[in-house]
């Protein structure tokens, strides 16, 4: 691990840009909910629905627990003079717990929830689901691929026919069928995504194992009496790491797109928990009046997929460079 900074600094620009972008998105999604507030809070729908980006409002917290969002508030003797929905109202100081400024940096949605807070919280779910599904895909794919490639013969034939069969089912229909039969939750989402995308990894790993299996260093390890799991983990896997990582990066982008589509269709995470796809589905109903509720989640999905594609491209370039300059 000590060599990582050095190897990263001479890595292609795309790889560094991709990693930086991904870390930035993951970072703000992780930290964001602490800064941007509660994404599910519906504070004062009549005055806050569909505020355009950059709107500034004043939030008045009353002692009875309710919250008012007003256009303007000025401190006067004995309380606050507030302008709400075009009418002036005077709120006595005894009823007020706190008054503070509130900025809707990216606007608000149709029930007045802050879009920035929802997008960042949604990013947490979308990234967590995408990364967990990738982990599941890799575990199944590596297992099946390594077993098929190493064992060969009947095991290989049977496993590869299973791969063919699962590949022959249109992914989205399979996911609809499973989503119909199971209650949607982040866990089932991960299971559905993982169970329907491992076949590509399995094929890739099988090919790598087959081509490395008869190399002298693997034969040497076999002669030395190393067990099959040890050879696969210590000798074969490290040599197949680059194509697998490159494939995994692209796959992460695809998984995030599929997760967004499923959430958009309503087969993903249940509301009111925000997710990027679900936010766009909500925004579609008011698209005629407001474009901004849909914009930020779409941009963040795209940036995440771009980051993944940049990492994959960068790895490929690094590989080419290594071959070109021995």
């Amino acid at each position: 691990m000590r060599r990582l900074p050095a190897s990263l600094s001479c890595a292609p620009g795309e790889l560094r840009a991709g990693i930086a972008l991904f870390v930035a998105i993951a970072g703000i999604s992780f930290v964001g909910p602490f800064l941007a507030g509660d994404p599910t809070a519906i504070t004062d729908p009549s005055t806050t629905s569909l505020l355009p980006p950059g709107t500034v409002r004043t939030q008045v917290d009353l002692r009875d627990g309710t919250t008012l969002i007003v256009e303007r508030a000025t401190s006067v003797a004995g309380g606050w003079r507030c302008k709400r929905l075009g009418e002036d109202l005077l709120i006595e100081a005894s009823r007020i717990a706190a008054v503070h400024r509130r900025v809707y940096l990216f606007g608000s949605d149709s029930v007045g929830r802050d879009i920035l807070a929802r997008t960042l919280a949604g990013g947490r779910i979308s990234l967590a689901v995408g990364l967990s599904a990738l982990a599941l895909t890799l575990v199944i794919g590596l297992g099946v691929g390594a077993l098929a490639g190493w064992a060969g013969g009947l095991v290989d034939a049977v496993l590869m026919r299973v791969v063919d069969a699962v590949l022959a089912i249109p992914l989205i229909f399979l996911m609809l069928l499973v989503a119909t039969l199971m209650r949607p939750s982040p866990l089932t989402l991960v299971l559905i995504l993982g169970a329907s995308t491992w076949m590509g990894v399995a094929r890739l790993v099988r090919g790598q194992v087959l081509s490395l299996k008869s190399r002298p260093f693997v034969l040497a390890a076999r002669v030395a009496g190393a067990s099959a799991p040890r050879i696969l983990l210590r000798h074969v896997l490290p040599n197949a790491l680059t194509p697998i990582t490159q494939d995994a990066a692209l796959r992460l982008g695809d998984l995030i797109l599929i997760e967004a589509s499923l959430s958009y269709l309503g087969f993903g995470v249940r509301p009111p928990t925000p997710s990027w796809g679900g936010m766009v589905a909500d925004a579609q109903a008011v698209l005629g009046e407001a474009w901004w509720p849909a914009a930020l989640p779409v941009v963040l999905i795209a940036l995440t997929v771009i980051a993944a594609a940049l990492v994959a491209d960068g790895l490929q370039h690094a590989q080419r460079r290594r071959i070109a300059v021995p």
């Binding site: 069969a165 229909f173 069928l177």
Partner: protein, 320 residues
């Protein structure tokens, strides 16, 4: 050759059977039987029991499986619970609509992708190349519903140029001949664009990479040495070879003609397979879901076979 093709068709049939069995078992293994999930919990148990009998759910699994397989093999996929009509009839209405939309989208995507890659490679690494490379990366990365909604918001709501949804307007539905066709064309533009934009991004990235490898191959250099112009060397010598993997890709996207782009069809309320299956999933219409999955699976298997055959026909290095 014929024997190989027949053998491949046999393997394909086995695959379809495997998928059919797997999806059937998946439905059967789901917690709670369908009669108890489908209906309102307030329905009395006797009615529920009658339903079970009507759908044949009171029989053992093996009997149900054998029965379902026999009728499915004979081309009868049961009756859709939502539409109250045979599944084959419901699918038969939806598939042509999907083929129209997906066919147009796919054609535009392939032509556009090749065109963008060719423009990029006039000067690799140049300003045009880099701009287009970033644009196609962005186009590939934006989710299809994002592209679709942006198109609707801009061209339909803002500028009021094109209809935002459905296949025909009420007037078009009543019209015949040319006016009907014109109405259909107007409704096609946005969904086709939405499919093509994301597709062109992926396609251009792919063709560019493949063409970049080909153009430095020895045979292109040889063509240049014989006095062939760059343009001709690329278009006549390198491009056909660069497109061979594209045939495989096109074959893999053949099922797209049947299953369609579900998201696009849902966004634009296009009455095709995707929309149908989406409705079936929301309404828990199991026979329709199973039937649609089976139809799309057959398309996948047929697409794979077709692409292998075409690849073998155009690439002398590949034998079946």
């Amino acid at each position: 050759m014929v024997r190989v093709v027949l053998a491949r068709i046999g393997v394909g049939a086995v695959l379809v059977w495997l998928v059919a069995t797997a999806t059937f078992l998946l439905v059967a293994a789901a917690p709670g039987d369908i009669a108890s999930r489908l209906a309102d919990p307030r329905i009395p148990p006797e009615a529920r029991q009658r339903w079970r009998q009507q759908f044949g759910l009171d029989r053992p699994l093996a009997v149900r499986y054998a029965d379902w397989l026999r009728t499915a093999a004979a081309g009868d996929l049961g009756v859709s619970w939502l539409h109250r009509r045979p599944v084959t009839a419901v699918l038969g209405r939806a598939i042509p609509n999907t083929m129209l939309l997906a066919g147009c989208g796919l054609t535009l995507e392939i032509i556009g992708g090749i065109a963008v890659a060719l423009v990029q490679l006039r000067r690799p690494g140049g300003l045009v190349d880099r701009t287009l490379a970033w644009s196609s990366l962005a186009a590939y990365a934006v989710p299809t519903f994002g592209v679709a909604l942006a198109l609707i918001a801009a061209l339909s709501y803002r500028l009021d140029l094109l209809p935002p949804s459905h296949m025909l307007s009420p007037e078009g539905e009543l019209a015949r001949g040319l006016p009907r066709l014109a109405d259909l064309g107007r409704h096609l533009v946005l969904p086709v664009l939405a499919i093509a934009i994301t597709g062109i991004g992926a396609m251009a990235r792919y063709v560019r990479g493949s063409l970049l490898d080909e153009r430095s191959a020895a045979y292109v250099l040889a063509a240049r040495a014989r006095g062939c112009s760059w343009r001709r060397a690329i278009a006549v010598h390198a491009l056909p070879n660069a497109l061979i993997p594209l045939v495989t890709m096109a074959g893999l996207s053949l099922p797209f003609l049947v299953s369609g782009s579900l998201v696009i069809e849902v966004v634009f309320a296009w009455p095709g397979m995707g929309q149908l299956m989406y409705g079936a999933a929301l309404g828990r219409d199991i026979p329709l879901l199973l039937g649609g999955t089976l139809a799309a699976t057959i398309a996948v298997v047929a697409g794979n076979l077709a692409s292998d055959l075409v690849t073998a026909a155009i690439d002398p290095r590949v034998r079946l």
